[in-house]
Symmetry: C2
Subunit: 221 residues, 2 copies
């Protein structure tokens, strides 16, 4: 095992994208500190997936932070609003969770500063999920600028970098990259609304995007 | 009781500053939704103070969000680091909690968007606490810009405003304003390191600033 380099925080949801990001950060030699959230989501079994992915790919640490966004709801993922199964609408979907990536990155920023890390990785992707405002490069850039005004390290001239390596990749490109880096996608889960037996619904936007990409790659999942 | 107007989120810590901010927002006619955090702080009795203040001044709702920042520490308020009692050092004090106001404002942003509020109030103050990077106007402005790129409402042209009405006020001016608006400061607590009997230590930076201001106003506390 090669010597690990600088510490980095990796936001790890248990889904396909963030598993790939962890593999990328590992391949770049970072000592990866994974951060997952139990935030009142419907699909809390994604935490189990995050733990499996972290253990399989290797991390220096894995923190699961509890922060209950269902206290105020406002999303099909955190409140009693149906997850759409008829394909994507135009505009921002009801699965958008208000300020979720802002909240996740803010925690990552605190964690990073506390342990001396200056690099934060997030698996946002604007090709497939262009409807989510907090998955765009404009948001990532604005968060990074804000972070460097918000923190002791930033103000003292030792700035943070927010890495979003999947930003311009298609789902197929993401999966190819992950397979090259040894990701086992059977450990990941993407469904917004799994069945009571914890099986993917196969019909929500997230399942459809995932399934279409694996079909294009002629991989059975 | 006058009819309440637009909803607003008020970050309410249980301290002197945020109690004053709640009174200000109330006086401006907002329907105030208070948001407090149990974040692994030493002085968790501040949540009790926040509840008393919210009940006394009046709010439409009060959410206490649990999010454990002590999982990674990095501050005298969340880890086993002594709270200084010999007055303020130069630079950023060890009571700085990495990214705390960023994390609090991010949650407030999610809460605001979920309930249709576009106004968020925070009691930061750059006169007395100039050592904290996330208590400066540069930070507040950067957060607001980021918030309007991060959210559905912001992107759709219905932007958020972060209000920091205490930003340029001294502690004496803050207390005078609060007294005019009916704040009962005996309900608030400011100490970073209360005794086991839950009494203020009287020696930390926060106690010293508070006590000096009340002394200047010739008010016994």
């Amino acid at each position: 095992m090669k010597t690990k380099g600088k510490p980095a925080i990796i936001l790890l949801s248990g889904g396909l994208d963030s598993a790939t990001v962890l593999a990328i950060a590992n391949s770049q030699g970072y000592a990866c500190h994974a951060l997952s959230f139990s935030y009142g989501q419907r699909h809390s079994s994604e935490i189990d997936s995050a733990k499996k992915v972290a253990a399989f790919l290797g991390v220096s640490d894995h923190v699961v932070s509890t922060t209950d966004l269902s206290a105020w709801g406002g999303s099909a993922l955190t409140a009693d609003i149906a997850v759409p199964k008829q394909g994507e609408d135009n505009g921002i979907p009801v699965t958008y969770v208000p300020a979720r990536n802002t909240i996740f990155l803010s925690h990552a920023l605190g964690y990073a500063e506390a342990i001396g890390a200056r690099d934060i990785f997030i698996g946002v992707n604007s090709v497939d999920y262009s409807g989510y405002p907090d998955c765009r490069s404009e948001f990532i850039q604005a968060f990074e600028s804000m972070a460097n005004l918000a923190t002791k390290a930033g103000v003292e001239g030792d700035p943070f970098t927010i890495h979003a390596p999947l930003l311009q990749m298609t789902k197929v490109e993401i999966i190819k990259e992950g397979l090259n880096l040894g990701v086992d996608y059977s450990m990941t889960r993407s469904c917004y609304d799994p069945t009571s037996e914890d099986e993917p619904c196969g019909a929500c936007d997230s399942c459809r995007l995932r399934d279409a990409a694996f079909a294009e790659l002629q991989i059975n999942t």
